[in-house]
Symmetry: C2
Subunit: 244 residues, 2 copies
DNA sequence: GCTAACATGCTAACATGTTACAGATACAAA
DNA sequence: TTTGTATCTGTAACATGTTAGCATGTTAGC
């Protein structure tokens, strides 16, 4: 996928303890290995460009190469790692193109979602959204950014689930993966969090009017603002980005 | 993923010759096995609900279980097969919900695509579209439905590629997989093909005006018509659909 | 006849041995 | 110094042996 021409700069930072134990996850060993690796990559525990040593990972997780191989092939499909045949596996570097593409895809999905659900939202569903927003309010007041991000994600997930389509959230999340990884580099700014909350409220308000176009507009405004905070990243952290 | 509770009805139909040889494909053995299986499933060479016998597949393709296992895990991720741990792998049945979801996702992507490209299309890109449409015209006149479907796919691919995003076409195709499989059950109707051509022309016409809303509308009309032909399938071919 | 314990066959999941290629290094030739 | 070639190392890709869970058929018990 990505050609790495010469030398693979940084090796492991400390050589261990970046993977949570498999007992934290559920499912087959392959699935658990996948989740453990994915979490570590998204947390930047493995740094972009770094080589993944399969034997080391096997030892750390206490499993054989088979489940780890399957985990890595799934990560490759999502674009989180680059596999160079017969040579090595490397944590994918950021790419502003991929981030923009993920944002575009997610925007397409969420705009289509609010458009279809706006006219047919039930009172029960609106209650769920209102409750979520009230909690967001409290978390912002408390300065609990981590909690706020969780509720943020939940709100978007709720909206997608109201379409009745089951895999939509998965596709949107996969698209958003690179954005989420990049977001680790941005310190949460109190002002931005308050703004985000206002944008969420505007989305709910539009949905309450049951006007598809208004809902689209509110959602577009929200997602459009997000990307503006990501654009400067390439300048600020060039070491994590793929050379152009 | 899908719970199969009781008995796995139909076995192999003729037991062989449904897989094209690996030499027809390129890449690693795992990738080639994936492509061969995928093609066979989409062609309905393997029927929905049928069990996939890994050893048989290995023998037919002349490879060991490893590449076939990876191929199957990819197919499972795309929802084309259902893996029941320690029990068996079955070709996924159709599900009208999944078909609708795929259509929704593809519509979301293509509407977003025409919306962004409409104002910025280059003359060169328009020429590509016009040329594609002229060929479609000829193929319809010749009654070459197979060729027409190929050009149809190419046109949608062109439009997505003009956004500059690389994986968009892949996501749209994956979403469309179930629809494509279901489409095998519909005989091409000359009238419908001519209609489709007109819809394609309307899309190009809208793009030529560089009006995003007109382009959205034309694309929406096109994709919306398609799904109406799929809805009767569940009634006409209940044996291929998952029980509700 | 009906139910439940058990035995059997088949499968995915996992472990591990083997192969072949990419890439680095060393060195020879120009 | 540069360039080409041989070798050597580490890795993914592949092959195959092993384990354990599910479905089913059979038999024992009632």
């Amino acid at each position: 996928m990505l050609q790495i021409q010469n030398g693979h700069p940084q090796g492991p930072v400390d050589g261990h303890a970046r993977l949570r134990p498999l007992s934290d996850f559920s499912g087959s060993l392959a699935n658990r290995s996948y989740l453990a690796l994915r979490a570590a990559i998204l947390d930047l525990g493995y740094r972009p460009g770094e080589a993944l040593r399969k034997v080391e990972i096997c030892a750390q997780l206490g499993v054989s190469r088979s489940p780890v191989a399957e985990a890595i092939s799934r990560l490759a499909a999502e674009g989180l790692v680059d596999v160079v045949p017969q040579a090595g596996t490397y944590v994918a570097r950021f790419s502003m193109d991929e981030i923009r593409e993920g944002a575009f895809l997610r925007e397409a999905i969420e705009l289509a979602a609010v458009e279809v659900i706006a006219p047919i939202l039930t009172e029960k569903q609106l209650v769920q959204l209102r409750r979520n927003l009230r909690v967001q309010d409290i978390l912002v007041a408390d300065g609990d950014f981590r909690g706020f991000y969780a509720l943020d994600g939940e709100m978007h997930e709720l909206i997608l689930s109201f379409t009745g389509f089951k895999k939509l959230a998965y596709v949107a999340d996969t698209a958003w993966l690179h954005v989420n990884r990049a977001r680790q580099l941005i310190l949460p700014m109190p002002g931005r969090v308050a703004e985000t909350l206002e944008e969420h409220k505007a989305i709910l308000a539009a949905l309450e009017t049951r006007d598809p176009d208004a809902a689209r507009q509110a959602m577009r405004a929200h997602l459009g603002r997000l990307i503006t905070f990501l654009e400067p990243l390439e300048r600020d952290h060039p070491e994590f980005f793929a050379p152009r």
